[in-house]
């Protein structure tokens, strides 16, 4: 099972902000962490991650700095800002509402089965 693209895109911002709330990190590590958290089910690409990081930086939810690691290699580290934390809290409230509502619905119906065709007749 792969998570649908729209859902990945919608959850991308809180996911990145949440991971960076744990401490500063860089692109590759963020991608690894997402992979790890979702058991490989979330299909993130570099084309999703880096432009998103740049956008969040432009909105000043994140700050970045270049640090050198292992000789000449440079790495761009991202850190969450106060307004990023506020945004994360706001997103979290919204997601809690959505998830809570979905849980309410699914509790009544569980376990989910596909109704047979013409079941109403």
């Amino acid at each position: 099972m792969k998570v649908a693209k729209d859902l990945v895109a919608a959850s991308a911002t809180p996911m990145v902000l949440g991971i960076l709330a744990e401490g500063e990190s860089y692109g590759y590590a963020i991608l690894r962490r997402i992979n790890e958290l979702s058991g490989g089910e979330l299909d993130w690409t570099e084309g999703l991650l880096y432009p998103l990081l740049h956008r969040l930086e432009r909105l000043s939810y994140l700050e970045s700095s270049w640090q050198s690691v292992a000789g000449e290699r440079k790495r761009k580290y991202y850190r969450i800002t106060d307004s990023g934390l506020a945004e994360l809290a706001e997103q979290r409230r919204q997601w809690d509402t959505v998830v809570g509502a979905l849980k309410e619905i699914w509790q009544d119906r569980a376990p989910l089965t596909v109704p047979p065709l013409g079941g109403l007749a």
Binding site: Y26, G27, Y28, A29, L31, T45, E46, G47, L48, Y50, P51, L52, H54, R55, R58, W66, R73, K74, R75, K76
Partner: protein, 458 residues
């Protein structure tokens, strides 16, 4: 693969990959750094899992997905990168380009300041812009164009003989404008004021092609330069007009009327400086922004063709002769100039190796209809040559220009026709146009230097 080769080979692969990334306009050097770090992280992990560096690199690149998709995603966040910006200081250029671009800027500013100052130098000799209009009309281009030529000659690192030739020609222009005893209200003053700028502009052309003045390609570059320069000058004139209007009206609102400053300083000085700045803009942005003159010619060639054909049909339909009284010849000269311009700027943007297409046929129709109209006008004029047509410098100059343009367009039409029928290469048409430039220069100098004595300074 032997062990010592491994890291080196891998570095070469990274370098190559980086080049591919940097070729994308959406991806900049910082993005390449970031993505390269990502790729290295991926490679390191795969190597740790037991792959050879070579295999790890391939797998990591594959995982990153196609660069097309990546740059599309980047473009959504960084859409401003798709709009080429003119960088004034050259900061984003390569490290080697930076100082050069900055020096260029300073030389341009010095030349623009020189042009601005030289417009006001005659004031020291008691000539004012308001009262000695005829003096400024004859000399205005002599204040501005030498500075543009100086800037271009500096940029091309012109050799001494070229610089000497430029100086001699500008001095000759100054003599032509001022040595003859021409009355302020004489026709010759007007004729000189119109033709001296043309002659001097082609001197600027000599400075432009200073590095290789015989080359047809360089002359075509000068034609491109002329079109772009003109468009930039018009745009700056619009901006300058808005600036002057605001300056005038805001100060007038507090009871200070800056009429003298605007009309004596801002407009003449600004115009002279704009001549140099426009030249610099064209030079600075020629590789950054698409040329606008060919775009305009593409838009207007069909429209002008339709208008000229409609005019021809109307002439035949009503059998009404063309009225060539007064300055009508000048109007038709200008028509030929416009048609020549449309032809030239379409040529300047055309891929010389492309086969003839429908647009070339359209151009042939344009040129042929302009020629037909001009022949009608000339027939009309020869009918009246007895009532001393051509007896004044105005008419002689207009007639001469008409003949020069007619010859150019007639041969262009022939070359276009043979090109469309695939008998001659496109380059023949290009060479004809670039080879014709000295004819314009020669004619403009003749009008400026020979006409006044020939017509008794009338």
């Amino acid at each position: 693969m032997t062990a010592p080769d491994g890291p080196q080979e891998l570095e070469a692969q990274f370098a190559q990959w980086r080049q591919y990334v940097l070729r994308r306009r959406e991806l900049q050097a910082v993005d390449a750094d970031e993505l390269e770090d990502h790729l290295r992280g991926s490679v390191d992990e795969l190597v740790a899992a037991g792959l050879s560096p070579d295999e790890a690199f391939l797998v990591a690149v594959k995982r990153m997905g196609s660069l097309d998709e990546l740059s599309r995603e980047f473009a959504r966040e960084h859409s401003e990168r798709l709009w080429k910006q003119l960088v004034l200081t050259g900061d984003s250029a390569g490290p080697a380009d930076g100082p050069r671009a900055r020096r260029d800027l300073w030389v341009m500013l010095a030349c623009a300041a020189g042009a601005l100052v030289s417009v006001k130098v005659p004031v020291l000799f008691g000539l004012s812009f308001g009262e000695d209009g005829a003096f400024y009309a004859r000399n205005f281009t002599l204040f501005a164009l030498p500075w543009l030529a100086a800037y271009l000659a500096w940029r091309r690192s012109a050799r001494r003989p070229v610089i000497a030739a430029l100086a001699v020609l500008f001095a000759l222009g100054a003599v032509a404008a001022n040595a003859y005893p021409l009355a302020d209200d004489s026709q010759s003053v007007v004729v000189t004021s119109v033709h001296l700028p043309i002659a001097l502009w082609l001197v600027v052309g000599l400075a432009y092609v200073a590095d290789d003045w015989r080359s047809s390609r360089r002359r075509m570059d000068f034609i491109r330069f002329t079109g772009e320069w003109f468009i930039y000058l018009v745009l700056m004139a619009l901006g300058g007009g808005v600036l002057a209007a605001f300056l005038f009206n805001t100060f007038a609102a507090i009871g200070i009327v800056p009429q003298e400053f605007v009309s004596q300083w801002l407009l003449p000085g600004g115009a002279a400086a704009a001549v140099v700045v426009a030249g610099w803009l064209v030079e600075a942005k020629q590789s950054v922004v698409e040329n606008i003159a060919p775009v305009l010619t593409r838009l207007f060639t069909p429209l002008f063709t339709a208008a000229l054909l409609a005019f021809l049909v109307a002439v035949v339909w009503t059998s009404h002769g063309i009225d060539v009284e007064r300055e009508a010849l000048l109007l038709f000269d200008l028509l030929l100039v416009v048609v020549l311009g449309l032809l030239l700027y379409s040529l300047s943007a055309r891929d010389p190796s492309a086969p003839p297409g429908p647009f070339d046929k359209l151009q042939l129709a344009l040129v042929v209809s302009a020629l037909a109209i001009d022949v009608l006008v000339l027939i009309e004029i020869t009918g009246r040559i007895t009532d001393d047509y051509g007896g004044t410098p105005n008419r002689a100059a207009a007639l001469g220009e008409n003949v020069i343009l007619l010859v150019n367009l007639a041969w262009s039409a022939w070359l276009l026709l043979t090109f469309i029928r695939r008998r001659t290469p496109f380059a023949a048409l290009e060479r004809w146009q670039t080879g014709y430039l000295p004819v314009y220069a020669a004619w403009a100098w003749i009008v400026v230097l020979v006409f006044p004595p020939l017509f008794g300074f009338a």
